[in-house]
């Protein structure tokens, strides 16, 4: 089973449980319509997101990766997003060096109350990924599946 080729691209989201996952819930409760491409992996904190997860996803088939945590100072674990910010910033700068468009990876902060903001993040990011098109060659996909 895969994403619906032609209609969707493969976008993986790592969301912290306390803020962004809640923000995505809030967006859902508010019925804020969003593109369907994004698949969400719940993590306790953006600080849990080892940049290698992003690399792993991008190398293995994702067209875009989104990491979203609590706003700085608002981390449930107080410092997690501060570490995430440094590590993910380093990664964001590194990706284009390897030939990966840095727009394929975005990290941001969305709080549990910001349903509308979440909708915008998802919509804009999905749009950006669609503008970039698929990252992996089609042949690779068929070869693997």
């Amino acid at each position: 089973m895969s994403y619906l080729a032609g209609k969707e691209l493969r976008i993986v989201g790592f969301l912290c449980n306390w803020c962004s996952y809640g923000g995505a819930d809030t967006a859902g409760v508010g019925r804020f319509k969003q593109p369907t491409d994004l698949r969400i992996i719940r993590v306790p904190c953006s600080g849990r997101v080892n940049p290698l997860f992003v690399v792993k996803a991008l190398l293995n088939g994702a067209d875009g990766v989104l990491v979203s945590g609590c706003h700085p100072r608002d981390c449930h674990y107080s410092d997690g997003n501060f570490y995430a910010r440094r590590r993910l910033e380093m990664l964001k700068r590194l990706l284009p060096f390897l030939g990966i468009d840095e727009r394929r990876f975005h990290y941001t902060w969305v709080s549990a109350s910001e349903g509308a903001r979440w909708k915008n993040v998802v919509t804009d990011f999905t749009k950006a990924i669609h503008e970039l098109g698929p990252f992996h060659q089609k042949e690779e996909k068929t070869e693997c599946s």
């Binding site: 803020c19 969003q34 369907t36 698949r39 993590v43 590590r87 709080s111 109350s113 599946s145």
Partner: protein, 653 residues
């Protein structure tokens, strides 16, 4: 491995935009899935029974429920699964409602997305390991932050329930905003008359330890075991000696201190007691206005104090209290008039805020309850009330309704007519919001019995002309501009979070909304809980709220604390970091990055140094996990392999 998948229709919430039957069919094809079915309401009792029966019948060892958000029902289903003897961490949830059926418009795409969400959960579940919570003892004391009506109610209810209460109040007296009010709507009963007895109860209750003029410095720990540092701000008066006689105040030569209690309606002395009914009734010095501090000489209060309580050398003091739960009732603030430049921005003395007018109306206020306008102390005859002064105003970042202004304006207009029978009051409003019991009748009374003129429209400008203030507004029902020559203008200034709300939230590790109001765990079903267990909310710190609602929340928060304290121990969350001693190379990077100091060095018998997680301290953030280069420290239930299984489920197709 035998995974069972249960797909919830959630009535039409999911089934309306997701083809659940197709989802179940796809789930059955997934490796490791032994059983998949759909159900109308999985969270219902029969729904849960269905899961239990299926576990037994199909010999399932992992369970995935695809339904709403795990933030909603993960706990429910874990309990269900556990009842069959399966470890509760063998359960996974796929969010196909909030993250899928409610936000996607295309049924085909939604269905596909739901299938993938389940695949993700199945792969994760297959990696899950049994986890077992440990038990730990609770410290059955409670900290209440804020001594307004909500905090006092919470403190009294907890204390009456037998708990030791630490009540911390930032200002020199308990009472909060309610103590400043003259009368309360819709009954028009005297505010301090109903609040006063509660204040006295707080001060006299043997179970309540009150720290007035104190602030929260630091909070450490977790539910059941918090360590609180409280800063007792220097009052420069030894409260153990002070009798509240007021001799010092009478003699104080510095007469132009800002009166915080009266919102600056009239000046105060540099040494003061905020109001006659203050609890504790003790004096304190505002150093920035005191001559002793500014000029280095004066000493008048020290000379006249009959008990020798004055101490200019006093310093802030930090005290420590250990508690098991925290109730936050830190109240609200009001926007400053300078946010409203079109209304003069505070430059015109006869344009005041509602709370200032409340003090002017109040018999124990600076005018002893005589209505007079600040500029020339004349009795105003034409009074204009402007509602939504800053509220519902996106342009200044306050899009929300301040909740109670419509009601207090009606009250103030009624009181004005009572005080000055030949006065005329006008109220500019956009909508009259009075949905409480007896509330709408009250605003009608203002118009019907007291002849208050309600004008539907906003005020664009207020400016002085001679001794009058010209209020230039619109009457949108007439479709015209209107002008009123007022003697006094009262602005119902917008309610905000307190200025230090965000700082306090960060100390508490609780969330706040973009306006600084604290976020409850669930807007309907968990209104006083926060996402940090052991921390509860009461009153307007969660959002603008009137007195009955605040009192209700105070009691509700107290009930929550009493309920968790009804047991002697709590279960710790086993979703914490654990070190694989075979792998750890002792590089210590995790130790340095842990925000909680939960990792320590440990020397093995062979002399190797490795990391060790202190179970009760670890909060489960996983920073150590993503720091560890060799993957030796793993956050249980969110291990590298579990997350990799999810990534692979999505990407390696």
């Amino acid at each position: 491995m035998r995974v069972g998948v249960f797909i919830c229709h959630c009535g039409n919430n999911i089934a309306g935009t997701v083809e659940v039957a197709k989802v179940a069919e796809a789930a059955r094809m997934m490796p490791g899935v032994a059983f998949a079915t759909t159900y109308m309401y999985t969270c219902s009792e029969p729904g849960q029974e269905e899961i239990k029966e299926a576990i037994k019948r199909e010999k399932l060892d992992r369970v995935v429920v695809a339904a709403c958000s795990p933030r909603m029902h993960e706990v429910t289903f874990r309990r269900t699964v556990e009842k069959t003897g399966l470890n509760r961490y063998f359960f996974e949830m796929a969010n196909i409602r909030e993250h899928c059926s409610w936000i996607g418009e295309d049924k085909e795409l939604n269905t596909n997305k739901a299938i993938e969400a389940i695949k993700l959960a199945v792969e994760k579940a297959k990696q899950n390991k049994p986890l077992f919570p440990a038990k730990f003892k609770i410290n059955k004391r409670v900290l209440v932050i804020g001594g307004g009506v909500a905090g006092m109610q919470a403190a009294l209810d907890c204390a009456d329930g037998g708990l030791d209460v630490v009540l911390v109040e930032k200002s020199p007296s308990v009472g909060g905003m309610m103590a400043r009010l003259d009368k309360t709507f819709p009954t028009v009963d005297c505010s301090i008359c109903i609040l006063g007895p509660k204040m006295v109860d707080v001060s006299q209750h043997e179970k309540i330890n009150l720290y007035a003029y104190s602030e929260i410095e630091e909070i450490k720990g977790y539910v059941g075991n918090y360590q609180i540092k409280i800063r007792k701000k220097a009052t420069y008066v030894d409260w153990s000696k002070c009798t509240g006689c007021g001799a010092c105040i009478e003699k104080c030569p510095s007469r132009n201190a800002f009166d915080y209690f009266n919102f600056g309606v009239a000046p105060a002395r540099a040494i003061n007691i905020p109001f006659p009914q203050a609890i504790p009734k003790k004096a304190k010095i505002d150093a920035q206005f005191c001559r002793q501090f500014i000029k280095g000489k004066c000493g008048v209060c020290a000379k006249f104090c009959p008990v020798g309580a004055i101490n200019y050398e006093m310093k802030d003091e930090i005290v420590t209290e250990d508690v098991g739960a925290i109730i936050v009732a830190s109240g609200y603030g009001l926007i400053d008039l300078d946010k409203l430049p079109e209304y003069g921005g505070g430059r015109y003395p006869d344009v005041i805020s509602g709370i200032q007018y409340e003090r002017i109306l109040n018999a124990s206020g600076p005018t002893s309850g005589h209505i007079e306008r600040p500029s020339d102390h004349a009795e105003p005859k034409t009074i204009v009330f402007v509602s939504c002064a800053g509220s519902r105003d996106k342009s200044i970042g306050i899009p929300y309704c301040s909740n109670f202004c419509c009601m207090y304006i009606a009250k103030q207009a009624i009181l004005t007519k009572d005080h000055i029978p030949d006065s005329r009051s006008y109220v500019f409003y956009m909508d009259i919001r009075s949905p409480g019991k007896g509330y709408d009748e009250f605003t009608r009374r203002a118009q019907e019995e007291y002849g208050v003129q309600y004008i539907r429209g906003r005020v664009s400008r207020i400016y002085p002309k001679g001794k009058k203030m010209i209020v230039k507004g619109a009457d949108t029902l007439l479709g015209t501009q209107v002008e009123i020559e007022a003697d006094l203008v009262v602005l119902a200034t917008a309610v905000t979070a307190t200025t230090d709300a965000r700082t306090l939230a960060e100390k508490l590790h609780i969330s706040y909304d973009p306006h600084g109001f604290y976020v409850e765990s669930h807007p309907k079903l968990r209104p006083v809980e926060t996402n940090t267990s052991g921390v509860f909310l009461a009153g307007a710190c969660q959002g603008p709220k009137d007195i009955p609602a605040s009192v209700g929340q105070g009691s509700a928060a107290a009930a929550k604390v009493l309920s968790i304290f009804s047991k002697d121990t709590l279960e710790s969350d086993p979703q914490i970091a654990r070190v694989n001693t075979n792998i750890c190379v002792g590089c210590r990077k995790c130790i340095g990055t842990c925000p909680f100091g939960a990792i320590e060095e440990q020397q093995l018998r062979d002399g190797r140094i490795i990391a060790n997680v202190i179970e009760t301290v670890c909060a489960g953030c996983g920073i150590c996990n993503s720091t560890c280069p060799c993957g030796a420290i793993q956050l249980q239930h969110f291990t590298d392999n579990q997350l990799l299984a999810e990534v692979n489920a999505l990407c390696l197709t």
